[in-house]
């Protein structure tokens, strides 16, 4: 018995150590951003100082620089604008499509659903060169509308796939009963299915929005002027002047942008992952 207890204590210790090591390793950059934001410039750039503590009084100078002397807030507003419209387009296209593929078109609807999911695998780094030309032909270079047009290319396939699973879990009897009561099929979809699928639709809203905030390649390729940047490109590229990195402001921008997105994403992550497991888990 003694050895059994000893083994359990040892196992518990290893367990705690593994978790601690991974948490530190994975979360460290964000902790480091937090520390950097409030350090005085002299403190940051003095190699004699212990970087883990505040050798001089904390300061808000980096935050002031970020909010007053850069276009950071403009980039956040651009991102919110693009995100909102992309979410709208995604909902209008994906909700009816997912319902149709889950319910109305039988077995080949399911096949088509898988085909759509596969388009999600086609990466921006394959499409960005032809798309840059198409964007130029449409006269959308350096316009946020180029991103609004292109971003549904990845939000729509993934949303259709997620919503298909969601609609399939609704009992058919509910719709049948509604149709007996005089609703058409489309009426049942609008008045019954959509309202009871609010949580699935909300998941799609959150994910489409976070995918937009995370995108880098298209935003880097299509947008050139500083005022039109998305936050994900503006911060790493335009907050650097020549070779000068304003690390304090840079880290502030990273942390302030990342945390809300991370919190939102985290709330809905389990549903998102269910979409990735392609039925390999029952």
């Amino acid at each position: 018995m003694v050895s059994g207890t000893g083994r359990r204590v040892f196992g518990g210790l290893v367990h705690a150590l593994v978790l601690m090591a991974f948490s530190v390793l994975l979360a460290f950059p964000f902790y480091w951003m937090l520390i950097t934001i409030f350090k005085r410039t002299n403190d940051l750039y003095n190699l004699q100082n212990n970087p883990f503590k505040f050798n001089e009084k904390p300061t808000l100078e980096h935050l002031q620089l970020l909010f007053h002397d850069t276009l950071y807030l403009r980039w956040v507003a651009n991102t919110a604008f693009v995100g909102a419209i992309v979410v709208l387009i995604t909902l209008v296209l994906a909700v009816p499509a997912a319902y149709a593929l889950a319910r109305l078109t039988g077995r080949w609807g399911e096949r088509l659903g898988i085909a759509i999911f596969l388009t999600y695998l086609v990466p921006p780094t394959l499409l960005f060169i032809p798309l840059s030309r198409l964007v130029a032909i449409l006269g959308l270079q350096d316009s946020l509308w180029s991103l609004i047009v292109v971003y549904p290319s990845f939000t729509v396939p993934f949303s259709i796939w997620l919503l298909m699973g969601f609609f399939k879990s609704i009992p058919r009897e509910l719709e049948d009963a509604a149709m007996v009561d005089g609703l058409t099929r489309f009426g049942a979809f609008v008045k019954l299915v959509v309202p009871i699928s609010v949580s699935g639709i909300l998941t799609v809203v959150i994910f489409s929005f976070t995918l937009v905030t995370q995108e880098f390649v298209y935003a880097l390729t299509f947008i050139s002027s500083e005022a039109h940047q998305m936050v994900g490109v503006g911060v790493p590229i335009f907050l650097v002047r020549g070779d000068v990195y304003y690390w304090g402001s840079l880290m502030a921008a990273c942390l302030i942008t990342s945390l809300p997105i991370a919190l939102l994403y985290n709330l809905f992550l389990d549903r998102f992952i269910a979409g990735f497991t392609v039925g390999a888990v029952k």
Partner: protein, 293 residues
Amino acid sequence: MAMTNRKLGVLMFSPAIIYVLAVVGVPFVLAFVYAVGDVKIASVGYHYVGLANFRSVLESPTFRRSLYDSIIFTVGTQVVVLVGSTVLSLALKDRFTGRGFIRFLILLPWVAPVSLGTIGWKWILDSIYSVINWVLVHLHFVRPFDTPMWLGEPTLAMISVIGVESWRLLPFSTVILLAGLTAIPRDIPEAAAVDGAGFWRTLFQITIPMILPIVNVAILFGVIFVFTDMTVVYILTRGGPYDTTQVLPSLAFFTGILGSDLAEGAAISIFLVPILVAVAYFMLRVASRAEVG
């Protein structure tokens, strides 16, 4: 009955299909068309040039180096992520106090925008003010003024981009494996324990074989994400030093967009397609097995 289900269905999904075809299908085909043409940024007209772009790409040492780097980058990241996420998902499998918070910390690299997390690393790996180097100096592992140039020396730079890409992907892979682990019925490992199987034996003979299908899914997505990603490399090293961390997607960007040779850029990105096709094929097999089983 005004309309059959089928007709209504077609009406409801066509807008989405047409949109996706326009923004994914058309540029996908154009990528091939450009790769056998002579398109440059702001050029007019199109001339078919056959395989000339591919020939010039294959002769370029930079391209060969990038292909090699892409493979190292992808395989290296997959190995780190697979080992790390297996250990981490096993540690996260059972409920314990604070699990929600730990999970949030662990997920941060995946849920935060990738370009911003990577800039955080660029500061941590800075050539002068790297906190890692400060620790190494104070533990007397390296001498001051002779600290490692994490992003400035070819081998270290490759290790750095693999490390950061793994950091980014590890949470994703962990959550996927976790979904597989929680789906194992509790009584199976318990029965094995009653039969006298220890931790390692249960792990290798029961747990790992049972989550193998889901491990495949994690690998397939991981390969796609890493092989086609240019963000980490672009922000950390711009492909340097001397193209030693240049990967195919970033080379396509430098050639096609910044170098305004769209045709050659397209030819480079076409080399991503074989991997995509292979992954799609295996993904379909996983999906069809799930459908049958």
